[in-house]
Assembly symmetry: C2
Homo-oligomer: 325 residues x 2
């Protein structure tokens, strides 16, 4: 919900038809796009404008993002030879523009700034499938059939994602979000065996930074206890799992983020308000809730709907505990 994007006319005006990965290299544009949502609405935080494929492109993976389709990797990663070509990320050399944008944004913003990265499983899916997938079949097939290649791939991705996240915090990001958007397709036992150990290393590697970390996925109802075990001060929950149920599964000690279905935003505002109230009434049961959408803002959303939604959430939540992690 704090993201810049196609739902903003001022975003479309600046981006035009430019390649998104090219856009992410232009520090001035990144700063402007990151600020846009904050000018429109009274959000409690900003997130640096980027793409989860940025660090992969930065270490030389031939990735391009096709409008309307998503990230495409022309030479998919499916063998241990392919994996061995993935090198660790050196933030100062590979993503200086992201770090510079964060430094500049900190000077502009009076709300906290979030950095982010895609999680290893979700990045692995794009690398193995060669593009977006509904079922992530090839990815999971590699995980089941070739566990040592899989573990090498996940380790290589931790060596890209972890330095990227650390560098963002060191440049000034006051919280970090780890997007494991597609991990909800994994069977819980397989998650525990093939994903959890890598996620534990990732979160352990962030601990000394002292910044809150949000751990997000879609369709992860059954994975919530394992995601909590992996790490994260805040666990993202999509609309499929009611917040009270999510809290039960996550247990004490972590906050939840979510979980309005973004599709609701296209309905008349009284419907948006009613659904937001439902989320807030469940959230009121316990401290530690970050109001958010269960996933990204749909491109057709009216910016004013979001502005009114932020206003409504602020009206209803007086306690600061409900407003940030």
């Amino acid at each position: 919900m704090r993201q810049a994007g196609r739902y903003l006319p001022e975003y479309r005006r600046i981006r035009g038809g430019d390649d998104i990965l090219e856009t992410c290299l232009r520090t001035d544009v990144v700063v402007e796009l990151s600020l846009q949502p904050c000018r429109r609405m009274d959000v409690d935080a900003a997130i640096v404008f980027s793409d989860i494929m940025v660090p992969l492109a930065a270490v030389g993976v031939p990735v391009r993002i096709e409008p309307g389709r998503g990230p495409l990797v022309d030479e998919p990663v499916r063998s241990s030879d392919d994996v061995s070509r993935l090198r660790p990320l050196e933030p100062d050399v590979d993503v200086p523009h992201v770090l510079e944008a964060i430094r500049l944004l900190r000077k502009e913003l009076d709300v906290p700034l979030l950095g982010f990265a895609g999680a290893p499983f979700t990045l692995a899916s794009y690398l193995v499938e060669g593009g977006p997938s509904r079922t992530h079949e090839r990815t999971k097939a590699l995980m089941y059939a070739e566990p040592s290649t899989w573990d090498a791939l996940m380790s290589a991705l931790v060596a890209i994602v972890l330095p990227h996240l650390r560098a963002q915090a060191e440049a000034g990001a006051q919280a970090l979000q780890v997007f494991d958007s597609w991990v909800g397709v994994v069977e819980p036992n397989a998650y525990e065996r093939s994903v959890l150990p890598h996620m534990e290393r990732l979160f352990a590697g962030l601990r000394d930074l002292g910044v809150p970390v949000i751990h997000f996925g879609v369709g992860t109802g059954e994975l919530l206890p394992l995601m909590r075990r992996a790490g994260g001060d805040v666990i993202g929950v999509d609309w499929r799992t009611p917040l009270d149920v999510a809290w039960q599964r996550i247990g004490p000690g972590a906050a939840v983020q979510g979980n309005l279905d973004p599709v609701v935003l296209s309905a008349p505002f009284e419907v948006v308000a009613a659904e937001a109230e439902r989320v807030l009434s469940l959230a009121a049961m316990r401290d530690g809730h970050v109001f958010n959408l269960g996933h990204g803002v749909p491109p057709g959303t009216e910016p004013d709907t979001l502005r009114r939604l932020v206003e409504l959430v602020h009206e209803r939540t007086q306690r600061p505990g409900n407003r940030s992690a």
Copy 2:
């Protein structure tokens, strides 16, 4: 798992490049394709070869199925005018070939025969989106923004699906499966308000037939109690939800079907066996389990892997209660 399909060379030989909806009209071919999996392996039931779009095509919806893409509806259904053009199904007039195939199959088979249909939400998604979708955004947007158009659409679909299922049972199908494959994208409160009432009417309309009904969906972990309330003697569970958890949510009085992740089938057989054993050991906790995949057979699957899997399940499950609903 009992389905005919692209993983069988004898299926590809017969289907060739023919349109699948055309194929479904040819009774002799439907009978042959339905029998193919039973010749290859010792499955406990057969399912009539068809497609969930067959009854929609039969009432005049301009639907075509594009290989590799799925069902496409050139004039999507998005207004109450569009909905008013959907007429109820008259089975003897509209789908005589399906009913004739069922009658012929009953003479050939020595295992029970299943009939099936897509559930209203899943069919609505194809009609509203105009094709397959990852997010089903337009469908849910209609549900939230125009509840009366939505209810009219769901009612029109019940008037197609219910007679179709009844006629299949009356023609000889010994069990029925209702595929609500995509309903897992719906938030539980929205399911209760906008899907459940229609599903309750559908299942109530099947009750006097006296045949067991399987209620299936993907990613429905949080919806299981509501799906159980809607109806069905067996609730299908995909691999995301462990069977013991599914049983807790479903409560007593219904069986479960599932839930091996189909992707496992591409791994070496020892992996397939280990994952099947895991499912069976959870299933052994209670009576009333139908072993099955959590979703369809991936096209690249080796038929022999499935044959060996059926053998393994039969070896491990001596009690008939574990083998059929």
